[in-house]
């Protein structure tokens, strides 16, 4: 069963085709960063806010991708870890007057620690069993938040003062927060790429594809599975903290089971074992519900559901997971054709 969880590796280094595709990828990445940096100046405040949320969701989905995509552990509970990050930031800012940017490291730390703690019992579970355990986490989150109301403000939640942008940059608050989120997203992507393309990432994938063989090769399965959980929830908790800062408000209703499911859907739609897929997932989570609302007032979630079906039918491995291998193949074919043309011209 875990075999079917496995999506193909997005790209493997070594072949010339992949190298060619890699060059194009770098050009694409730089272009994307430039566009992302220019974008807020051409958009209304509300659209800037929306794009900020896209990036935040992308960080959360990236965290889930590390766990589900690369390590093969399914989670229906990442909304809970998102909430942990959000409330860490909110409580630190509200009760202790900590500046907003200083709340991200503690959120990361607590996210990691809780993920490792949660990952330990989760080691015993696979497939639907892990889904149940994490589902329980998602369900318990709003209940627990309401229960410990001295800290969390209970049902009412916590209102946060929106941070002021540093003077001299000439940026308003929304655009400033957009850039904060962009920087965090870039750091997250870089970190994820380093981890996943290195030794640790190879161990994750080995455990996902051949758990017994991985153990036989001397990979400490328990350590890496727990680590995957911790890293994954670290990302998601940081995203949660950012969301609390940007929205300026936390309440138990914002972190229901539906949020966890949205992350999983975003992950699947983008492409589970891809880094770029997380960004596509972020767009899906932020925009498709609104689009659905525009299409049909009466049954917006039916439209959202239909969109999920259509994406899975046309791109079962997600947008990036389905399209990227095709691009690599296309570039490879072009390159071979070019070499062939050259050798013809040289008239061997």
């Amino acid at each position: 069963m875990e075999k079917r969880f496995a999506a193909p590796e997005s790209v493997t280094e070594g072949t010339s085709a992949a190298a060619a595709a890699n060059t194009w990828r770098w050009i694409g990445i730089v272009a994307l960063i430039v566009i992302a940096a220019a974008l807020p100046f051409g958009l209304s405040k509300y659209h800037v806010f929306e794009l900020t949320m896209v990036m935040i969701y992308a960080i959360a989905v990236l965290g889930l991708n590390i766990l589900t995509g690369y390590n093969g552990q399914i989670s229906l509970g990442h909304g809970g870890f998102f909430a942990v990050g959000a409330y860490t930031a909110a409580i630190l800012m509200h009760r202790y007057g900590v500046p907003y940017w200083l709340t991200l490291p503690p959120a990361a730390l607590i996210g990691f620690a809780l993920g490792v703690l949660f990952g330990l019992p989760a080691l015993r579970f696979e497939g639907p069993y892990l889904a149940l355990v994490t589902l329980a986490m998602a369900l318990a989150t709003p209940q627990l938040l309401k229960y410990f109301d001295t800290w969390t403000g209970g049902q009412q939640g916590i209102n946060l003062a929106k941070p002021t942008p540093p003077a001299g940059l000439g940026l308003d608050r929304d655009r400033w927060l957009y850039f904060v989120a962009l920087v965090v997203l870039l750091i997250a992507i870089r970190t994820a790429a380093n981890i996943l393309h290195g030794r640790t990432g190879r161990a994750f994938v080995a455990i996902r594809d051949h758990p017994i063989a991985a153990a036989a090769m001397g990979i400490d399965t328990a350590k890496y599975k727990t680590l995957a959980f911790g890293i994954s929830t670290l990302f998601t908790a940081v995203a949660g903290a950012l969301a609390a800062i940007v929205i300026g408000y936390v309440s138990p209703e914002g972190y229901s089971l539906f949020l966890s499911i949205s992350f999983l859907v975003g992950s699947a739609v983008g492409g589970i074992a891809t880094i770029g897929g997380a960004i596509v997932g972020g767009f899906f989570i932020q925009f498709v519900p609104n689009l659905a609302n525009d299409i049909s007032d009466a049954a917006p979630w039916a439209i959202y559901g239909l969109a999920m079906l259509l994406f899975m039918y046309t791109m079962p491995r997600g947008v990036v997971g389905t399209l990227w291998p095709r691009i690599v193949k296309f570039v490879a074919a072009r390159k071979i054709a070019a070499q062939f043309a050259v050798s013809q011209r040289e008239g061997r």
């Binding site: 496995a6 329980a136 318990a140 209940q143 627990l144 999983l264 899975m312």
Partner: protein, 289 residues
């Protein structure tokens, strides 16, 4: 003591609902390795069909039978039309499709019937029996569920189609070589699961009242029950569902106020699973290296 027994019996009534839905989940999981998250919403939709028929003046049991037939056909059509395109896709894609289906059913039900909570008639009178240990309504719910379970087990055990369905779930390639149409068996499985869900929905609606979100909680408890019993074991699903029903009721009555009931009930279930990771009746999956 008397109160304790009362709570056990009313837990069994709720548990038999969870057991039915859990069984539906297990049936589909055994055949396709897929947890159908839309099972609860499909049941909710079936219940609305029954409600429409009863409101149109049909006698309750006739409406119930028609609902079962419609649900069976609907389940088969959903498998052929909605699930089949992701039959060979990664599991996560199939899971997302069932979640999409869940949203579609919920939203469409809200659109057609509105989100207003509706009364649903109970076919059973509400009188205490056995020295007020339980009510006739609980007894009726348990009875109907048991009858359905017995019929279902007999179907799988003693009919050629039931045998062929078990074979198709276990080894599709060999089943094809025997001339069994595996795709059709899957569709029948979805039809039966939808029928079981419809029964659960109609039985629980008089208690929970009818609205599009009615089955959300039931599905979660059923899922927990199915896993507690062992996701590969039909008997486990039934036992697991009953245990979850009783546990939930006892936790709610004796341990903690309803606020944290769900959390505590789940914590207990997970505690059990830590010691039996394949559920009470499940078997470990033997994996080849």
């Amino acid at each position: 003591m008397h109160q304790f027994l009362q709570q056990i019996f009313s837990g069994l009534a709720a548990g038999s609902i969870y057991a039915s839905l859990a069984l539906a989940l297990v049936m589909i999981y055994r055949a396709t390795d897929l947890v159908n998250f839309a099972q609860g919403e499909m049941a909710m939709f079936s219940t609305y069909i029954a409600w429409t028929l009863v409101n149109a003046g049909l006698p309750f049991w006739l409406a119930f039978l028609i609902t079962l037939a419609v649900s069976f056909a609907g389940g088969m059509i959903i498998e052929r039309v909605v699930i089949r395109p992701v039959e060979n896709a990664p599991v996560l894609a199939a899971v997302v499709v069932t979640i999409g289906l869940l949203l579609i059913f919920n939203s469409v039900a809200g659109w057609i019937y509105s989100y207003t909570v509706q009364d649903f008639p109970s076919p059973f009178p509400d009188r205490p029996v056995f020295g007020a240990l339980m009510t006739t309504r609980d007894l009726g719910v348990i009875g109907v569920t048991l009858l359905m379970l017995v019929l279902l087990f007999a179907f799988f055990r003693y009919t050629p189609v039931g045998l062929a369905m078990r074979a198709a779930a276990q080894n599709p390639a060999s089943a094809r070589l025997c001339g069994i149409r595996v795709g059709r068996m899957l569709a029948i499985g979805w039809g039966l699961a939808a029928m079981i869900g419809a029964t659960a929905g109609v039985m629980v609606a008089p208690v929970l009242f009818l609205d599009p979100n009615m089955m959300g909680g039931v599905l979660i408890y059923a899922f927990a029950g199915a896993l507690l019993g062992g996701i590969t074991s039909p008997i486990g699903a039934v036992v697991g569902g009953l245990i979850v029903g009783v546990t939930e009721n006892l936790v709610g009555t004796y341990l903690i106020a309803s606020q944290l009931k769900l959390t505590v009930a789940f914590a207990l279930i997970i505690l059990v699973l830590v010691f039996r990771p394949n559920g009470l009746f499940g078997t470990a999956v033997v994996r080849r290296v």
